[in-house]
Amino acid sequence: MLSPVILVPAILNGLLTGAVYALVALGLTLIYGVLHIINFAHGALLTVAMFAAFFAYKLLGLDPYLAAIGLTPLFFCLGYALQRFVIGPAAHGEDRNILLITLGLAVVIENALLYAFRADTRTVNLPYGFSVIEVGPAFLSVPRVIGFCVVIAVALALFLLMRFTDTGKAIRAVAREKLGAELSGIDVAHIYAVTFGLGTACLAIAACLLLPTYYVNPHAGNAFVLIAFTIVVLGGMGSVAGALVGGLIIGVVESLSGLYLGESLGQIGIFVIFILVLLFRPTGLFGERA
């Protein structure tokens, strides 16, 4: 197992997979970091985005990478509306209620998709879907390499947004000290909704990146939720850099533990890290001291 012929591809694959995980986690970490809610509906929203990307291809002939340009703002608005008009008002500000509401939303979304589109697994067969780049002993799938680059770009964009724009500063203010932010005139409900919108927009991009190599059905997004939570914790809740680095690390950990322990038991690597980080460094790699 230590042979570089297996190890190098495993690490490289881990990085590529980890990048997509990171993008899913980016949305979650923003939502958690600012709204302090564990968004149970994250997986279901990813599934919606995947269906959207699929239909953009099937009905409009849009290549997923092009579709992302249109879907991202669309999903931003969806997320904004969801938080502003559904989750926010229904929760009465209580954390426990938000938990239940996102849980309820997850059930509604997943089953609405099942009802509307049935359970068939849908895939797209793109001309470049099977292209590979050879890097040493590794055959890297072109869509996944593209995905990796896009994720880095998105993470950078988000980081810049958070650091240098007014909205970004407002978001960080609300995350750190909601009352103070409110008193300084920031519209907290609006900022909450913007954050949720950003998180959902990340899912739209992630869905478009996944579509060439993955599949779509009403349950597809669920597979990414727990891993996204792990990355959020590892990277530090609310940290963009943390989600990216955490995602890459988790991707590699999953890959290597799958290699040594088998794909089934290997999943344990992720959760062991999860537990260890929580027990010994709960704020994560880049998180702020609680």
């Binding site: 559904v86 239940l100 309820g104 009802y115 009403p218 999860f274 537990i275």
Partner: protein, 311 residues
């Protein structure tokens, strides 16, 4: 005590159900409701009274279920002994994970997530280790004798789970009236203030978690006897963790009857939506989810909260 009287009255009323109906549909439905109420009451001790939300109660449920299943299947241990040992095993897992989590000072969402992770780790291990049957699962031998904790008719199962629920209700009631319970609520309301007031917060939380785990574990052992088949997804899957928290939160968190009320309402809702929508896949769950959201929006303190407000 007035409260004990209420509990006994409710239990006595419920106990009459098999005497007035022989419908197995109803009995099976109520057995599942009571099972969820039991597991939910376990969660309620830690989450409702203690304020520590766990997303991983499956860890205790599954451990107890597998313990009793494996002991019966591979070591010929009697099912009733398996019940006791299973509860002890579940409680032990609660104590260990609690100690680790609380020692590290985990609270709120962090605590919730670590419990989730523990349950997942156990699920993954159970899906590959030979002793649990790995993927194939554990099939307890059909042996319809009371000595083997299996019954031909649904009614004895119903009375047994009702008995467990009765005990859990009494435990919750005792908790409310006891000093330990007062400490627990103090920790829930303001952990730092409680510590400043001299309460050994760690011991209180750990005690609550162990008790919580034991109650849920009893549910796990019962599940094993009632359904006779376990696999990693059934024993440790998120479904039971969600059921465990849904019932008390809907029914009234931190109240004695909350989990029972919540379990009944949630399950009735599930059945009602199925009835309304017929066989169209997914539609019943869409309605279920919507109602859930609406309930939370309009009754944030749960059903018991609604009742208190209008009492």
């Amino acid at each position: 005590m007035k409260r004990t009287g209420t509990i006994l009255a409710v239990v006595a009323l419920l106990a009459c159900v098999p005497l007035v109906t022989s419908s197995n549909v109803v009995l099976n439905f109520l057995v599942v409701v009571l099972l969820i109420a039991l597991v939910g009451q376990g969660w309620n001790v830690l989450g409702g009274y203690g304020g520590q939300y766990s997303f991983g109660h499956a860890a205790f449920f599954g451990t107890a279920a597998y313990t009793t299943g494996i002991l019966q299947l591979h070591y010929g241990v009697n099912a009733w002994a398996g019940l006791i040992i299973g509860i002890a095993a579940g409680a032990a897992v609660g104590a260990i994970t609690g100690a680790l989590s609380f020692r590290s000072g985990l609270r709120g969402s962090y605590f919730a997530l670590v419990t989730l992770a523990f349950a997942e780790v156990l699920r993954i291990i159970a899906s590959v280790t030979p002793i649990t049957g790995a993927g194939v699962g554990t099939l307890i031998k059909l042996d319809l004798r009371p000595e083997a904790f299996q019954f031909q008719s649904r009614a004895p199962f119903y009375w047994i789970i009702l008995g467990f629920v009765a005990v859990s209700l009494l435990i919750a009631q005792r908790l409310e009236a006891s000093r330990f319970g007062a400490y627990l609520v103090a920790v829930r309301e303001n952990e730092d203030a409680a510590k400043a007031a001299g309460i050994d917060v760690f011991r209180v939380k750990l005690g609550a978690m162990t008790l919580s785990a034991a109650i849920t574990a009893a549910g796990g052992c019962f599940y094993a006897q009632y359904f006779l088949f376990l696999d990693a997804g059934i024993a440790y899957g998120p479904w039971i963790s969600v059921e465990a928290l849904l019932a008390p939160v809907i029914g009234g968190i931190g109240t004695v009857f909350g989990p029972l009320l919540g379990a009944l309402v949630v399950k009735l809702l599930g059945e009602a939506t199925k009835l309304v929508t017929g066989d169209v896949p997914g539609l019943d769950l869409v309605i279920y989810g919507c109602v859930l959201i609406l309930v939370v929006a309009f009754a944030p303190r749960g059903i018991a909260g609604l009742m208190k407000r209008h009492a």
